[in-house]
Symmetry: D2
Subunit: 213 residues, 4 copies
Amino acid sequence: MKVLVTAFDPFGGEAINPAFEAVKILEDQIAGAEIIKKEIPTVFEKSIEALEKYIEAEKPDITICVGQAGGRYKLSVERVAINVDDARIEDNEGNQPIDTKIFAEGANAYFAELPIKAMVKEVTDHKLPAEVSNTAGTFVCNHLMYGLLYLIDKKYPEMKGGFIHVPFIPEQVIDKKEKASMSLANIKEALTYALKGAVENDEDITKSGGKIS
Amino acid sequence: MKVLVTAFDPFGGEAINPAFEAVKILEDQIAGAEIIKKEIPTVFEKSIEALEKYIEAEKPDITICVGQAGGRYKLSVERVAINVDDARIEDNEGNQPIDTKIFAEGANAYFAELPIKAMVKEVTDHKLPAEVSNTAGTFVCNHLMYGLLYLIDKKYPEMKGGFIHVPFIPEQVIDKKEKASMSLANIKEALTYALKGAVENDEDITKSGGKIS
Amino acid sequence: MKVLVTAFDPFGGEAINPAFEAVKILEDQIAGAEIIKKEIPTVFEKSIEALEKYIEAEKPDITICVGQAGGRYKLSVERVAINVDDARIEDNEGNQPIDTKIFAEGANAYFAELPIKAMVKEVTDHKLPAEVSNTAGTFVCNHLMYGLLYLIDKKYPEMKGGFIHVPFIPEQVIDKKEKASMSLANIKEALTYALKGAVENDEDITKSGGKIS
Amino acid sequence: MKVLVTAFDPFGGEAINPAFEAVKILEDQIAGAEIIKKEIPTVFEKSIEALEKYIEAEKPDITICVGQAGGRYKLSVERVAINVDDARIEDNEGNQPIDTKIFAEGANAYFAELPIKAMVKEVTDHKLPAEVSNTAGTFVCNHLMYGLLYLIDKKYPEMKGGFIHVPFIPEQVIDKKEKASMSLANIKEALTYALKGAVENDEDITKSGGKIS
């Protein structure tokens, strides 16, 4: 089995992106699957173009994109991507779309094609904090997750895929007030268990992972 | 113009629901529109049944459901409802669905049929905090919002509709640590401006209201 | 009985100070006591000078200084002031002392000379959130509270006194992320009950109001 | 030079205490100083008795007590301990003092006898988050810190000493909502740099570390 794992370059004034720092140190084999690691630009349209080029070249069985969610407390496995770009800040090439559709003929939303509860359980079983998230925002992370799931729906129905958000790492919060972080070693470990959960579970488990609001 | 505004009864161990407390004291006329106020049970299936009964009886031009989002800092106008129930706690009749679809043949998600940015702007222009939210959770609030938008899509295409979440009121946070609240008077006022924004704007304005993650 | 209540002018880039907005609309009589309201400059040395001038002129039985604690969720009655200035930002005249004593011959700290638990209980009994706080920071609020208690210790042993911090009001958090607020009406009400608690209780009640850390 | 480092056993329903987990894996030598590690019971009076016994036996040059501050985002070096016990929960032997003095003839507060700003800087220079804290609470942590500084004041004037609070570790927040954590490896590292800062600086540096409120 082959798993493509992508991560973004830094954005929003940060010098590093913990997602990419963690992805690049992942083992080359996880749970028997080959792990292919690629960087994606934090740019709206180009992110999906880059992703599709890697999918074309690698023909992965599973594609998981990873991004930074500054301020979150846990590794979060995203449940759903929505068909809208609404950028509070500019992307890395100055684009700031507001309330535009990602794909005109796409569904309103796509659910992750991953066993998200099993992935969360694999991480928490190994004593690291993880949760299901019900929003990937409306910036490039949601954009790329939506693009991936759109590609699965329209062109690669055999492929599975989804998105994982990781917290800041400690060095990013030194000058911030009340922002949580997770060590790079823990993010690497948590990502590894989440990938293991994705590789080893064809079907998801039944376990509440919801939020009230 | 006629606007149906609904709110839930208390749930999750709370003695009151600030959404209902605020809705029942709304003026009967806002921005020239007639305001019809109804209570909805915090019960998965029954909530949509009750809502449809009120829609049938009242034939409103706009329907806005209001719920409590304990822990939020601002009035939040929801952007999207997703086709999944995933209950972390039981509803008021003991139901706790996990990862089930709300309507088998419904879209993955429906976007609010409301000028959400204009509604937020109307509130903040009057010095009260409001924001667009990209998740209504996966409990009865999302369920009802999804049901409302499904009904609009399938049966009432002329009607507009959406969902607003309100924070706790002060008396609910007395024994809680670090939970924000908004006074009932401010919630009533903020809801009134949000409804005014919905009544007075056929088209939404273009203004970023997104989140990075 | 006469109670002197002071509040600071705006600082730290804020256009208003909710403490002063609330203090100036307090009733002139609370629980039978006469309420004298004064504004104090957010300037290290001058704040204590201004306070002493008002104490000299008014000869109050109780003096309570009120300040803004942006980010807090509840009205907080301060327990203790410490003998240090350590300013993260400049005061309103550009002073930024770092690790200097407020009074060379003062105690390391002074405890509020107020029935702080009874004051908190009076507020929460009326359904508004309040708590005891164990730190007034190291900026002008702590400075003034320390100065007041130093004056009580050295010159006015018959006077009682202490400090109350209030949250942001809603209009201050419109452009802030995840910052709690309390309406001006609620702050006025909560301050009124806290003052009532101070006026009516010679001795404090025994009720835990502590924090673990 | 000899440094005594203590940590508490678990309390408040937690199965482990990250302070003790980290202290017991500290190196035996830091910055040329010998590190002596001891466990202290989370019990009001006994904690100070145990501490004094270790001080008597070891005659350390510096004593630093370490405790858990669940919910904090950074390693925090405490500035001050206050002369009051006010327990929100029972200690590990069922004691719950409310508003009682720790030592009747002690000062209202004692400031840490440590170069706290230099300690924080040593940690942040190594890319880990740390800050000065102005309250150690009113539970056993503040009690022990006060006891240590009281002992320095009354009996061991040549000794230096103070207190450091550490966040939860990741496994403690798996079932908690929105609670920050720091990995055990990072806590060990941050403590090591803080101790290095204490060992290598006779005088503190002048650097703002204050809070507004």
